[in-house]
């Protein structure tokens, strides 16, 4: 493994990015030497996705704070500067409004920027460019100016980072027509959705999760292929069930799956849907599931008022009202700025027991 790293590093110094055009990222190649079924962390999945798309299309470039020499604040862009050089990987000053606008302008001219926000909290400094300069341009110009840009970075709560660094922006961005908003959960989601986002000719907001970066997931050969892509706008049924539908995205998918295990012990069969895409929202899959189970529990980490869950509940009540056997349920972050103290932070975020309780309520089972 070290030998391979050494060879790749040498090539990087001598030949620059172009000579390595068809090489897979080192982390993937190294993994394929491990015995048994393949696993991949979300971090490596994202890194390999960016690497492959940069290799395939010279118009793709990466821009953001610490993405180059620092190897990425969360190491998502590790190795890319070395492999592709400073003309494909750009370290920016701490000026979100400026560099986001520059990214959007570059996309106007046909390049394919991958703009990293160190966290999406900082995207608020650049939100005018995401919404007014990127999302609306294709419409306002009647198709003359499309914006093939990806805005990516960690979104939502981390651990102990306090009120200004913990907000979830899924609801905000997903309300805007003209944007596509994706939220991966597993390594396969991360690879397939990010590759789809980079190839997509429209602006994509790609909401990652810091606490998922280090998590390992099994990954198929198909997902490891450099042509692998997931469709945008299609949710995934992570677990089949017949008594209650639990719909969520990102980190909460893991919590929902744990909740489903607990519910199964009590004879409740929960169907867990991983949205993958917040905009477009896969209403068809959600409604088909609720028409089967008759019960809905929606889960998100973000603020409860006007959230993603509110949209899902409204959609189900509008389209599948006569199929519902119970009121729709929402489990969301507490309606407070994120506190720092560990016990308060735990109270401010959905826990597995909250999801279990809501599912039981929907099934008319008391505690």
């Amino acid at each position: 493994r070290e030998k391979m790293w050494g060879i790749l590093r040498q090539r990087g110094i001598d030949g620059g990015g172009l000579s390595l055009r068809r090489t897979r990222s080192a982390s993937v190649s190294a993994r394929s030497y491990a015995a048994g079924s393949k696993e991949m962390t979300v971090r490596d999945a994202l890194n390999s996705a960016i690497d492959e798309e940069m290799s395939a299309d010279p118009k793709v470039f990466v821009m953001g704070e610490e993405v180059g020499q620092y190897q990425g604040a969360y190491k998502i862009t590790k190795g890319l500067l070395e492999k592709y050089g400073p003309e494909r990987v750009y370290d920016t000053p701490i000026t979100e409004a400026g560099f986001t606008g520059i990214g959007v302008g570059a996309a106007y001219a046909g390049l394919k920027p991958v703009v990293e926000f160190m966290t999406f909290n900082f995207s608020m400094q650049a939100i005018d460019h995401i919404i007014n300069s990127a999302a609306k341009s294709n419409y306002m110009s009647a198709g003359q100016i499309n914006v093939p840009i990806v805005f990516r970075g960690p979104n939502g709560a981390a651990a102990g980072v306090g009120a200004q660094h913990s907000q979830c922006y899924a609801a905000w961005y997903a309300s805007v027509p003209g944007l596509k908003v994706l939220a991966p959960y597993s390594a396969e989601d991360a690879r397939g959705l990010l590759k789809a986002a980079i190839r997509d000719p429209d602006p994509v907001v790609f909401l990652e999760n810091e606490l998922l970066y280090g998590e390992s997931f099994p990954i198929s050969e198909e997902a490891l292929d450099s042509s692998f892509c997931l469709p945008i706008g299609k949710a995934k049924i992570e677990r089949q069930g017949k008594d209650v539908t639990i719909v969520t995205f990102s980190k909460m998918v893991g919590f929902a799956l744990k909740a489903a295990e607990k519910l199964a012990e009590e004879g409740i069969s929960a169907e867990v849907i991983n949205l993958r895409s917040i905009r477009p929202l896969d209403r068809a899959t959600i409604n088909a599931s609720v028409r089967k189970t008759s019960r809905l529990v929606t889960v998100e980490e973000g603020f409860p008022q006007h959230g993603v869950c509110a949209e899902i509940c409204a959609s189900v009540v509008e389209e599948s009202f006569s199929y519902l056997d119970a009121p729709v349920e929402r489990i969301a972050g507490a309606d407070v700025p994120m506190p720092y103290a560990a016990n308060l932070e735990r109270l401010a975020l959905p826990q597995v027991e909250d999801i279990v309780r809501a599912a039981k309520r929907a099934c008319y089972r008391s505690k």
Partner: protein, 395 residues
């Protein structure tokens, strides 16, 4: 504009005015295509910051100066026509007019190619025309018709012409500046020898994102030219009330700058030519164009509560860009008064015809409500006001 020196490479076409007037127009007309170089001195010197100012002697030709006259006259008439269309309620919402600032649009075009990019604010009608946009497309857009340059979906502030590298038309003050630096980034990335002119007003000159983008442009040597169209008022606020330092050409600090008489099309041309050469070699530069708008900020603003009518008419008398070019054409015998008046009549007719044609254009189909949201629709649903009544799958 006082002309101090005039040097001619050839004086074959310098006729005494009496002889010129006697010639039938069919013989005189060939002067409009005369590209023999002539040199004109700008009336006002350039002021520079961290660079050597370009020469005041501008290379031009009779054909070019005549084209300035015609193009500016067309722009002027378009804006005046827009004014009356707005008052007749055929144009709705915001309408920001450029009359008085025409020299900037024509002077810039004379110095650059259609592969150099331009991006500007919401005061974009004349910039669109300068990039080769059609009058009928402009009027149709203003009136929200299908024939509009944005199919009626953009409006006054959102004209674009991508095939001429005109990237709009932006409603958020200052947003176009980082966008323009991004266009320059793409030009450098693609190793093209073209530049981007990003236009903004004295109001936008204080925006933080300008300094953020300029910092990056200077660090990365982007071929970005920031052009401050200083018409002295940011909506109703005069420069002395909004900027601690109204020397906009110096505000780039470590970035060189040039102050230009923005009412002199030839000075604008010279400055833009200089800026393009500079940007390709040395990275960003700031141009401050000293200009003036006759209308208020928009059609909702009479423009007289924060400035005197005397000030406006004073500028019109002394600095009007079209009058200056007219005087130049007359004093150099490039055209007669009658020819210029005839040209203005032709332009007026052109504009009137375009307005009439635009009025004939239908409004967009209702289905257009849902088009152009995405390039790749992937079966997305979209909804009207009553989602049970109007639901569309985008394909």
């Amino acid at each position: 504009m006082a002309l101090s020196r005039l040097s001619l490479r050839s004086n074959r076409f310098l006729r005494p005015s009496t002889t010129a007037a006697a010639l039938p127009s069919s013989i005189r007309r060939h002067v409009s295509t005369d590209t023999t170089p002539i040199t004109i001195e700008t009336a006002v010197p350039f002021e520079s910051h961290l660079c050597d100012a370009p020469s005041r002697s501008v290379e031009t030709s009779s054909a070019e100066i005549l084209s300035f006259f015609r193009d500016m006259a067309r722009m002027r008439r378009m804006e005046i026509a827009a004014d009356s269309l707005y008052k007749s309620k055929l144009i709705r919402g915001f309408c920001h007019l450029y009359d008085g600032q025409e020299a900037l649009a024509v002077g810039m075009e004379a110095a650059i190619t259609r592969k150099d990019a331009i991006i500007t604010s919401y005061r974009d009608h004349c910039t669109f025309l300068g990039r080769g946009g059609e009058l009928v497309d402009a009027f149709s857009e203003l009136m929200g018709r299908k024939r509009g340059c944005s199919n009626g979906k953009g409006g006054s502030m959102h004209f674009y012409k991508k095939d001429a590298c005109f990237y709009g038309g932006h409603g958020i003050v200052g947003a176009q500046i980082p966008l323009g630096c991004g266009l320059a980034f793409a030009q450098k990335y693609s190793k093209e020898e073209f530049v981007t002119f990003t236009l903004y007003g004295d109001g936008a000159a204080n925006q933080g994102q300008l300094f953020e983008a300029l910092n990056i442009a200077a660090l990365w040597d982007l071929p970005a030219i920031l052009v401050c169209e200083n018409n002295h008022y940011g909506m109703g606020t005069a420069t002395w009330r909004s900027a601690k330092s109204p020397a906009y050409f110096k505000r780039g600090d470590y970035v060189p700058g040039l102050k230009v008489d923005g009412m002199d099309a030839l000075a604008v041309k010279q400055a833009c030519k200089f800026a393009k050469e500079h940007a390709l070699k040395n990275g960003p530069i700031v141009l401050e164009m000293d200009t003036y708008r006759y209308h208020g900020h928009s059609m909702s603003d009479p423009g007289s509560t924060y400035r005197t009518r005397d000030e406006v008419s004073g500028v019109r008398q002394v600095r009007d860009p079209i009058e200056r070019v007219r005087k130049l054409l007359l004093s150099h015998d490039i055209a007669t008064e009658k020819e210029l008046k005839d040209m203005e009549k032709e332009v007026r007719k052109e504009v009137d015809d375009a307005v009439a044609q635009a009025k004939e254009s239908p409004v967009p189909e209702p289905s257009e409500l849902f088009t152009n949201m995405y390039v790749k629709d992937c079966g997305v649903e979209s909804f009207g006001a009553d989602r049970k009544e109007l639901k569309v799958t985008l394909t």
